[in-house]
C-alpha cells in the first residue's frame, strides 16, 4: 500500500486512528499499530512479511546476544553474524539480479538473470535494524527483550517503506511511553496534509509533465528545451515526492505520539554540494556517516585515506539507491564534487557571494539527477547530447513552448514548494499575530482550513489519477 492512495487515506488511516484512539493503554495501542503495520506491509506482497519478520528476528537475537555478553570477542562475533545475515538477505533480494547480469556480461554465465521482485522497503528497514544492533554493540542502548517491540520499530508503517531511517534510540522511549497533546496532534495533521498534497498535487503532476516532455521511446527527437525543462520537472518531482513521504511519516508519527527526526531541510537552498547533502535525505547520510565513514577513520586520518573513505561511502550511497550502474555513477559523481569541495572548492566558495555557491550546487545536482533518472546508460547519453542539440534535434518546438506555457504557474508553485517561503510566511504571520488579535485569528483560521483544503484537493487529484479513458484497447 502507498500513502498516496484513496484506500490508504480513506480506509486504512481512519481505521487505524479510530482503533488507536479508542484504546487507552500503551500496550493496546502498540498492538494496534503492529497489526496495522503488518497489514500495510502485507498489502504489497504477503510473502515478504516473512522476510521482514526474519530480518527482525536476526537482529533481535543478535542484539540480545551482544547485550548479554561482557566479552568483547563474543560481542563482536554476534555483530558479525548479524551483519552477514542482514547484508546477505539484502544482497540476495536487491542485488542478485544486478550482480548476475554483470557476471554474465564478463563470463557469459549464468544464462538466466535471476529476477527477484524487490521487497518493498527492504533497504529502509534493513538499515534501521543494522543501526539498532550496532548501537547495542556500542553500548549506546540496551537490547530490547520483547521481539514485538523490535518488529514494531522496524515495521511501523509510518516509515517502513520510504523512510526516514529512524534510530532506535530516538523512539525507544516513545514505544513504551508516549503522550499526545493537542498541539502535536494539530501539527501532525498539517504535516500529513502538506505531505499528501505535495505528493498528489505537485510530484505526480511533475511526473506527468516529464513524461509529456521526454517520452522515453523517442528521446532523440525531443527538443533541447524539452529535455532541460523535463529534467527540471524531474528535479522538482524527486524532492517533492520523497520529502512528501517523510512529511506524511512525520505527520502520522506526531498524531500517534512519535517524534521522527527531520529528513529534509530544503536541500535546493543549499549553497554547496556538501551543504546539499546535509539537507537531503538526512537520515541516510547520517547513517553512512555514523556506521561507515567514522568507523573507517572519518576525518581523523591522512588526506588520502579520507578520500578513500569518502569513496567507499559514496559508492555505497549510490548503490543503496538501486541495483543498477547509473546509481553507482550517481554516487561517485557526488564523490568527485565532495572531494573537490573538501580539497579547495569550499574555501573558494566562501570567498564569493552565496549566490555563486547556490547556483553551482543547483547545476551539479541537476546533472546528477540525469544520471539518477536513466538506468539505461545509452539513453542517458542521448539525453545529454540532446540537451546541447547534438542529436540533430531542434532547440525548441511548438510542443515544448505549449507545455511550458501550460505549466508556467505550476513551475512557480514548485519553486515556492521547494523553498522555505511558506514556512517563513507562517512565521511572520505568527509574529504579527502575537501583537494583533485580528491577525492571530486570521492565522488560526488559515491553520484550521489549510489541511482540509489540501486533503480535498488531494482527493480530487487521486480520483483524477484513476481517470483512464480508452484504457482497454480492442486487442
Amino acid at each position: 500500500m502507498v500513502f498516496s492512495s484513496l484506500l490508504f487515506v480513506y480506509l486504512f488511516l481512519p481505521c487505524c486512528l479510530f482503533f488507536y484512539f479508542l484504546s487507552r493503554s500503551i500496550r493496546a495501542r502498540n498492538v494496534i499499530l503492529l497489526v496495522f503495520s503488518l497489514v500495510f506491509y502485507a498489502w504489497t506482497n504477503p510473502k515478504y512479511i516473512l522476510l521482514l519478520v526474519a530480518m527482525v528476528f536476526i537482529n533481535w537475537v543478535c542484539a540480545i546476544g551482544i547485550d548479554s555478553n561482557g566479552r568483547k570477542r563474543v560481542r563482536k562475533r554476534w555483530l558479525v553474524i548479524d551483519l552477514i545475515g542482514c547484508l546477505t538477505i539484502l544482497g540476495i533480494f536487491k542485488y542478485l539480479g544486478f550482480a548476475s547480469s554483470i557476471l554474465r556480461s564478463f563470463t557469459g554465465f549464468p544464462k538466466e538473470i535471476i529476477d527477484i521482485a524487490l521487497p518493498i522497503g527492504i533497504s529502509f528497514y534493513t538499515f534501521q535494524l543494522i543501526s539498532y544492533t550496532i548501537d547495542v554493540y556500542r553500548d549506546e542502548i540496551p537490547a530490547e527483550r520483547n521481539f514485538f517491540i523490535v518488529l514494531l520499530y522496524a515495521g511501523l508503517f509510518h516509515q517502513c517503506i520510504a523512510g526516514p531511517i529512524v534510530r532506535y534510540q530516538d523512539v525507544a522511549d516513545e514505544i513504551e511511553y508516549r503522550t499526545i497533546d493537542s498541539d502535536e496532534l494539530a501539527r501532525g495533521v498539517t504535516r500529513f496534509a502538506v505531505g499528501l498534497a505535495k505528493k498528489t498535487l505537485l510530484a505526480n503532476t511533475c511526473a506527468k509533465v516529464f513524461d509529456q516532455l521526454v517520452p522515453l521511446d523517442s528521446v532523440s527527437q525531443c527538443s533541447a528545451l524539452a529535455l532541460w525543462l523535463g529534467m527540471l520537472f524531474f528535479m522538482f518531482q524527486i524532492y517533492l515526492d520523497f520529502s512528501a513521504y517523510s512529511d506524511m511519516a512525520i505527520g502520522m508519527g506526531l498524531m500517534t505520539g512519535f517524534h521522527f527526526r527531520e529528513n529534509f531541510n530544503y536541500p535546493y537552498t543549499g549553497n554547496s554540494v556538501t551543504d546539499f547533502w546535509r539537507r537531503w535525505h538526512i537520515s541516510l547520510s547520517t547513517f553512512f556517516r555514523d556506521y561507515v565513514y567514522i568507523p573507517l577513520g572519518g576525518n581523523r586520518c591522512s588526506k588520502g585515506r579520507q578520500i578513500f573513505n569518502l569513496f567507499i561511502v559514496w559508492f555505497l550511497t549510490g548503490m543503496w539507491h538501486g541495483a543498477s550502474t547509473n546509481y553507482i555513477m550517481w554516487g561517485l559523481f557526488f564523490f568527485v564534487f565532495l572531494v573537490l569541495e573538501k580539497l579547495f572548492l569550499l574555501d573558494v566558495l566562501s570567498g564569493l557571494p552565496k549566490l555563486f555557491g547556490h547556483i553551482y550546487m543547483l547545476i551539479v545536482v541537476f546533472f546528477g539527477w540525469i544520471i539518477f533518472k536513466f538506468e539505461d546508460i545509452g539513453l542517458m547519453g542521448t539525453v545529454f547530447k540532446g540537451m546541447f542539440c547534438a542529436n540533430g534535434n531542434s532547440f525548441t518546438s511548438y510542443e515544448t513552448g505549449t507545455i511550458f506555457m501550460n505549466y508556467i504557474f505550476f513551475i512557480v508553485l514548485c519553486i515556492v514548494a521547494v523553498t522555505p517561503f511558506i514556512k517563513e510566511l507562517g512565521r511572520l504571520l505568527n509574529k504579527i499575530g502575537s501583537k494583533y488579535k485580528g491577525m492571530l485569528i486570521f492565522k488560526s483560521a488559515i491553520d484550521v482550513v489549510a489541511p482540509v483544503v489540501l486533503l480535498i484537493l488531494s482527493t480530487m487529484a487521486l480520483a483524477g489519477n484513476s481517470y483512464n479513458p480508452f484504457l482497454y484497447f480492442q486487442f
Binding site: S5, C15, S182, D183, A186, S218, Y398, E399, Y436, M460
Partner: protein, 449 residues
C-alpha cells in the same frame, strides 16, 4: 493582548483543526464504505470500472488480490466523475495558453512528392504492434446505449486542444501508407471484372480546419500531400475519390466535431457528392433530407484531454440527415444475432459521450439496408471504420441494397461477400489515421486477402 488569551485562541484553533480534519477523513471513509455509491461504469471513458476482485490463493499470495482491491477502491470511489471534473478545472490554473497538447507528437516521415512510377504491393508486414503515434482513432462501439460503455475502444493519437476544439494529430508513415494502398490494390485486382473498387480517405480536422502555420509549428504531417502520395501508389484499377479539396472548400461549415475526433454528417455529405461524381450518380441536395439535431455531445477529445473544461463549455450537436427511402436497417452484432435498428436513431436521451452512435447503430460487424423504392438489383458495400457511419445514410437512396462491413469486427472475406450478394460497388472509406496504423491495415488485409 494578554499571553493567556493568545494561548487560548491558539489552543482552541488547534483542537478545531484536528477535529475538522479527522471529521472529513472519517466522513470520506464512511461514504466510501457505502457500496451502492461506488459507480461501476464510466460513460465518458467508455469502459467498465474495476471490479472487486474475487479471492484466490494465488492472487492473495502474489499480492495481486490486494492490488486489485486498491484499484477497485480508487477506480470506483464515490463521486469520482465530479472529483475528476473538479480536478481538471483545478489543473487549468497550472498555466496559461488556450492550447494544450495531450500525448506526444512524433515526427512523420517525409512525404515523397513523386512516386517514381511505384505501385504499392503487399509486403510481409512486421508483426502487429501498437504504434502509439499513429494509433487509430475511431469508434463509438455498439448500438444500444448500455452496450456502448461496455465495448472496448481504441486510443487516439496525440490531441491538440486549441480554444474549444480538439484536433487529432497525424504523422505520415511511408511504409504503412504504402501498405494501405497495397491492400486496396490487392482488392481491385481480386475483384477485377466482378465489382468496382472505390477508395475514400478522410482527412481529419487537423488537416482541413487547423491553419497551416499552426500545423507547421506542431509538426504534424500535411494530409493533402499524404493523400496524394497514397493515391499515387494505387493502381489504375482503383477509383480514387479525393475529398480533400471539397472539404477544404467548406472548412468554415460545421464539418467536424470540436469535442470528438469524427467528422459531422455534413462533412460526410460533401464526401458523398464527390463519390457521386466518381460513380456517375446525381447527388441529392442537402435539403432533400430531413434533418435531426441532437445537442449536448461531448466526444473523445473531451475524454482524451482529461475532460478539458474548455471543451465542456461548448458541447457539439450531432446533426443527422435521414435518407428518404427508408430509415430501417438490420445489423448483425458480434455474436451473430440480427437486430432491427434505425439508420438514424434518436439519441437525444443517450449519454453525452455516445451520440455519434446515432448513425447506423454505431460499429457493428455487418449492416444491411434495403431500399423499398428500388428493385434494380443495385448493391454496394462499404468497408469502413467509425468515420464511415455518417457517410452510409447518403447511399441509401441510390442503391437497392447497401451493405456495411466494419472491417475491424467482420470475420468473413470480402470477396465471398461481394460475389454472394452481387455487389457492384465496393467502397473503402477510412480516416487518414487508419491509413497509417498497422492494426487497421492488418484488419484490412484479413478481410481482403
Amino acid at each position: 493582548m494578554k499571553k493567556r488569551e493568545r494561548r487560548r485562541i491558539i489552543e482552541r484553533a488547534e483542537i478545531i483543526r484536528s477535529a475538522v480534519f479527522f471529521f472529513v477523513l472519517a466522513l470520506g471513509a464512511v461514504i466510501a464504505l457505502i457500496i451502492p455509491l461506488h459507480p461501476t461504469t464510466s460513460e465518458i471513458e467508455k469502459r467498465d470500472l474495476a471490479k472487486f476482485p474475487s479471492f484466490s490463493l494465488t492472487s492473495f499470495l502474489d499480492g495481486t488480490y490486494f492490488k486489485d482491491i486498491d484499484t477497485w477502491y480508487s477506480d470506483t470511489f464515490p463521486f469520482r466523475e465530479s472529483l475528476i471534473s473538479a480536478n481538471s478545472a483545478l489543473q487549468s490554473f497550472n498555466g496559461i495558453g488556450s492550447v494544450q497538447i495531450h500525448g506526444t507528437v512524433k515526427k512523420g516521415d517525409e512525404i515523397p512528392t513523386d512516386n517514381e512510377g511505384k505501385i504499392a504491393t503487399l509486403q510481409e508486414l512486421p508483426s502487429v504492434e501498437e504504434s502509439s503515434s499513429a494509433e487509430a482513432t475511431t469508434t463509438t462501439p455498439s448500438s444500444s446505449e448500455e452496450e456502448n460503455v461496455n465495448l472496448p475502444t481504441q486510443k487516439l493519437g496525440p490531441v491538440f486542444v486549441a480554444g474549444n476544439a480538439g484536433y487529432e494529430l497525424y504523422s505520415f508513415g511511408k511504409e504503412m501508407s504504402e501498405q494501405y494502398a497495397a491492400v486496396i490494390n490487392y482488392a481491385a485486382d481480386e475483384l477485377d471484372g466482378i465489382a468496382d473498387v472505390y477508395d475514400i480517405i478522410i482527412p481529419n480536422s487537423t488537416g482541413v480546419v487547423l491553419p497551416e502555420n499552426i500545423r507547421k509549428d506542431i509538426g504534424t504531417s500535411d494530409q493533402k500531400e499524404a493523400m496524394s502520395y497514397i493515391f499515387s501508389v494505387m493502381s489504375s484499377k482503383v477509383k480514387k475519390v479525393n475529398i480533400y479539396d471539397v472539404l477544404k472548400e467548406h472548412k468554415n461549415e460545421y464539418i467536424y466535431f470540436r469535442t470528438d475526433h469524427h467528422w459531422t454528417q455534413l462533412g460526410a455529405y460533401y464526401a458523398y457528392t464527390e463519390y457521386c461524381k466518381a460513380r456517375g450518380l446525381t447527388a441529392k441536395p442537402i435539403d432533400f433530407y430531413e434533418k435531426q439535431e441532437y445537442p449536448g455531445f461531448l466526444g473523445s477529445f473531451y475524454a482524451d484531454s482529461g475532460k478539458a473544461p474548455e471543451l465542456a463549455a461548448t458541447p457539439d450537436t450531432v446533426e443527422a440527415y435521414c435518407p428518404k427511402a427508408t430509415n430501417d436497417m438490420v445489423y448483425v452484432d458480434k455474436n451473430g444475432n440480427e437486430v432491427k435498428w434505425n439508420i438514424v436513431s434518436d439519441v437525444s436521451g443517450w449519454g453525452t459521450s455516445t451520440k455519434y452512435s446515432a448513425f447506423i447503430g454505431g460499429d457493428n460487424p455487418l449492416v444491411k439496408i434495403k431500399n423499398p423504392e428500388l428493385s434494380d438489383g443495385s448493391a454496394c458495400v462499404v468497408i469502413k471504420e467509425s468515420y464511415g457511419n455518417a457517410f452510409v445514410p447518403f447511399l441509401v437512396d441510390h442503391y437497392e441494397n447497401v451493405y456495411v462491413l466494419d472491417y475491424r469486427y467482420y470475420k468473413g472475406k470480402l470477396k465471398d461477400f461481394v460475389t454472394e450478394n452481387k455487389v457492384k460497388d465496393v467502397i473503402y472509406i477510412n480516416n487518414i489515421m487508419a491509413t497509417g496504423t498497422s492494426l487497421r491495415i492488418n484488419d484490412l488485409i484479413r478481410i481482403t486477402k
